[in-house]
Amino acid sequence: MPPSTKPTRRKVLVQGTAALAFLTARPAFAEPEDMEKAILDFTGGVAVTPGKVKIEVAPLVENGNSVTLGVRVESPMTTAYHVKTIALFNEKNPQPQIARFHLGPRAGRAAVETRIRLATTQHLTAIARLSDGSLWSDTVEVIVTIAACTED
């Protein structure tokens, strides 16, 4: 029998430690860097300016399973100049994306309301892409006392 297949105590220890490291290294929640990456995917590297966008959400929520959230963008919503897409991102849910809303001049107003899940206290970012290609954003922090996503 070749010695390499023999499960020596040293090997078991090394492999066990490696497996444990692998398990613990996998985050239960996404990291803020994941949000940055998701935002970069959306913006394609175009600069994002804070402003025009307003996230409306309670600063403190009891239940992260259903958080009412509104996004408004200052825009005349004309054929020539309107909001095309509003993307919502979170920092610490298992996945950084929440939703993307595609609208146009026929919306009349750039205002969307929905309900989302929040795994923990974290920042939320909304980015609006306008018809001229410019990107605008707003970021808020929401404190969550009962988490969602990973619990039953």
Partner: protein, 107 residues
Amino acid sequence: MASALIDAPKTAKRGEIITLRALVSHQMETGYRREISGAVIPRLIIHTFTCHYDGEEIFRADLFPAMAANPLIAFTTVATRSEPLVFRWLDDAGVAITETVQLVVTA
């Protein structure tokens, strides 16, 4: 199984901005929860929502597991003609839910 509820005005003046609220019953299983046995409960969410009115798609949403169960989406549109508003949800299992409401537009 799933049922949809639309909150929209029955009538509107031409050019008026109306708010449409679309609610659908769906568990929006995130794919991150586990059974007691430890097995991951597979993801099953509505990933796309659309609204068609007066000849074109006026609103679309791409959704992710961070959307709450029984998703509610509220948005606006300009009343243009007396036409149906057609709402459509599509989930990971390929199930489509469609709901239509008629809008009467007055001059």
